[in-house]
């Protein structure tokens, strides 16, 4: 599903975040990205979602060379990817359910169907009772679950999560990881950048350890 072939990413200023990476991730895999801050985990995720472009090498997602995608084609790639951010990136001028329906609005799904699907996914993450709440009034864990609901509402085949439990206490973090396990069990490919070793141990799966832009394989 995802392949990195001799991928190097150098940012303006000269910092090399990734150096000659060769990785393949199969459909349905659960992959954890570990390593210290600045090791290249986030860059790896950004290259998959075409938020960044590789300096050298080829990043392919479902057979598409995403580094070569035109500006017009990038949104269609992203519609098939669910993105979970550490800082949630929620919109605070609208309700929880309005945040969740946004990807469906973008895809042109009919409003009634959008709301139905948004409620279903809010129910799955335990936030159905808070659908009208403004995200500001939600706790950190709830905001992260809302972000996950938004990432999943369009039923993507691939979910990328960047430190999804980074700011959460142990209880919330366990809830969220257990949610990820459920999605993995229904066939979603998950690539999760995290420092949370307990979560990795609990969920199992493949580990890619990043260190100064290079990758070493491991397993939980």
């Amino acid at each position: 599903m995802i392949s990195f072939s001799q991928v190097t990413k150098r940012y303006p200023g000269g910092h090399e975040a990734l150096s000659g990476i060769d990785i393949t991730i199969a459909q349905g895999e659960l992959v954890f990205l570990t390593g210290h801050s600045g090791a290249g985990k986030s860059t790896f995720l950004k290259l998959i979602a075409a938020i960044e472009r590789p300096t050298r090498g080829v990043v392919a997602v479902s057979g598409q060379n995403v580094g070569r995608l035109s500006r017009r084609a990038v949104p269609y790639l992203r519609r098939n990817i669910g993105l979970v951010f550490q800082d949630h990136k929620l919109l605070f001028d609208r309700s929880a359910i309005e945040n969740v329906v946004l990807p469906l609005d973008i895809a042109g799904v009919e409003r009634r169907e959008s709301l139905k699907r948004a409620r279903a996914v809010l129910d799955k993450v335990g936030l159905l009772a808070r659908e009208k709440a403004n995200p500001v009034s939600l706790s950190g864990g709830e905001q992260q679950r809302l972000c996950i609901a938004r990432a999943l509402v369009a039923r993507p085949a691939l979910l990328l999560a960047d430190e999804p439990t980074g700011n959460l206490d142990a209880g919330y973090a366990a809830d969220i990881m257990s949610m990820f396990r459920d999605f993995h069990q229904v066939g979603t490919t998950l690539v999760i950048a995290t420092h949370d070793e307990r979560a990795i141990a609990a969920l199992g799966g493949r580990i890619l350890h990043f260190d100064h832009g290079r990758v070493a394989e491991g397993s939980a």
Partner: protein, 302 residues
């Protein structure tokens, strides 16, 4: 197709919500557009009205030929025969009684005309020549003046020609002003839209991350620009209507003093539609340029 319609509907709804969320700023933007546009639109209307007035006057050169009071029947017949030649497009005879009656009714001089011991006006011909070049007109004018029984001749068209030339110049000026104000309109709209794009920066960036196309992001702002332009057109029409209302009585009074029944004409329905279309299109264009430039800047700074 259905997805496309959903997008249009949502974008329009979003634009209307934005306008309603900031009623004062929307109103001020529409007023700025309306006041700016009312100048060329008002000038257009003034010229249109002057054009109507000029249309009632002889736009083509005419020669008035006044007969001497003692002109004989033979001299009158010779003149009438001359005016049947092919170099004359049309010739209209106005008998002296008819001229006096017209003077009495059209100029409101009934009492004075009735008090005259005898009709002082001569019989006359109003002649429209076929060749309207200056030389040909002068030649014909001189020839008619030399005919026996003709007391006086007058070339009537010079001032009407000058008025038509001035109107043509005025119309060119209106188009130039319109072009300048179209740029101003696009700038007003673009500036308002730029502020909106910056205010919704987070929403735009998040939408882009989860798959929004350029068109999806741009669409609500384009609708906003178009709706603002339409409101600007309505404001311009309101300013013109108000000006028309204020000017109507003084203009009619002035026209009456000159013995004319001329009245101010309001803009016609097609002219109003053209005004609305103009403001909508140029405001949309301003929004398009602004949103495209600002989006690039917002995304580059993300």
């Amino acid at each position: 197709m259905i997805g496309w319609l959903h997008h249009q509907k949502r974008a329009l709804t979003s634009a209307l919500r934005t306008l309603l969320r900031q009623p004062l700023s929307s109103l001020l933007t529409a007023l700025a557009m309306g006041v700016a546009l009312s100048l060329p639109a008002g000038l257009y209307l003034i010229l249109d009205n002057l054009g109507r007035l000029a249309g009632e006057l002889p736009a083509q050169p005419e020669i008035s030929v006044y007969l001497a009071a003692d002109a004989t029947a033979a001299q009158k017949a010779t003149l009438a025969e001359r005016l049947k030649k092919p170099d004359i497009e049309r010739a209209r005879f106005i008998a002296r009684d008819q001229a006096l009656a017209a003077l009495a009714t059209e100029q409101g001089l009934t009492d004075i005309a009735a008090g005259l011991p005898e009709n002082p006006l001569p019989d006359a011909w109003v002649v429209r020549p076929r060749d309207t070049t200056r030389d040909a007109l002068n030649r014909l004018h001189d020839e008619l003046a030399r005919l026996p029984g003709v007391a006086e001749t007058q070339l009537d068209s010079a001032w009407a020609e000058r008025l038509q030339a001035l109107l043509a110049l005025g119309r060119t000026g209106v188009w130039l002003l319109t072009a300048l104000f179209a740029i101003a309109l696009a700038a007003i709209s673009g500036n308002a839209i730029r502020a909106q794009v910056l205010a919704r920066r987070d929403e735009i960036l998040v939408s882009r991350l989860i798959g929004a196309t350029d068109r999806y992001v741009r669409r609500p702002f384009l609708y906003l620009g178009a709706v603002q332009g339409l409101l600007g057109g309505c404001a311009a029409a309101a300013v013109l209507a108000l000006a028309g209302l204020i000017l109507r009585d003084p203009v009619e009074h002035l026209a009456t003093l000159y013995g004319s029944a001329w009245r101010l004409h309001p803009p016609s329905a097609p002219e109003l539609l053209a005004l609305f279309a103009f403001t909508t299109v140029f405001s949309w264009l301003g929004a398009w340029v602004s949103v495209t430039r600002t989006l690039r800047r917002v995304e580059a700074g993300a």
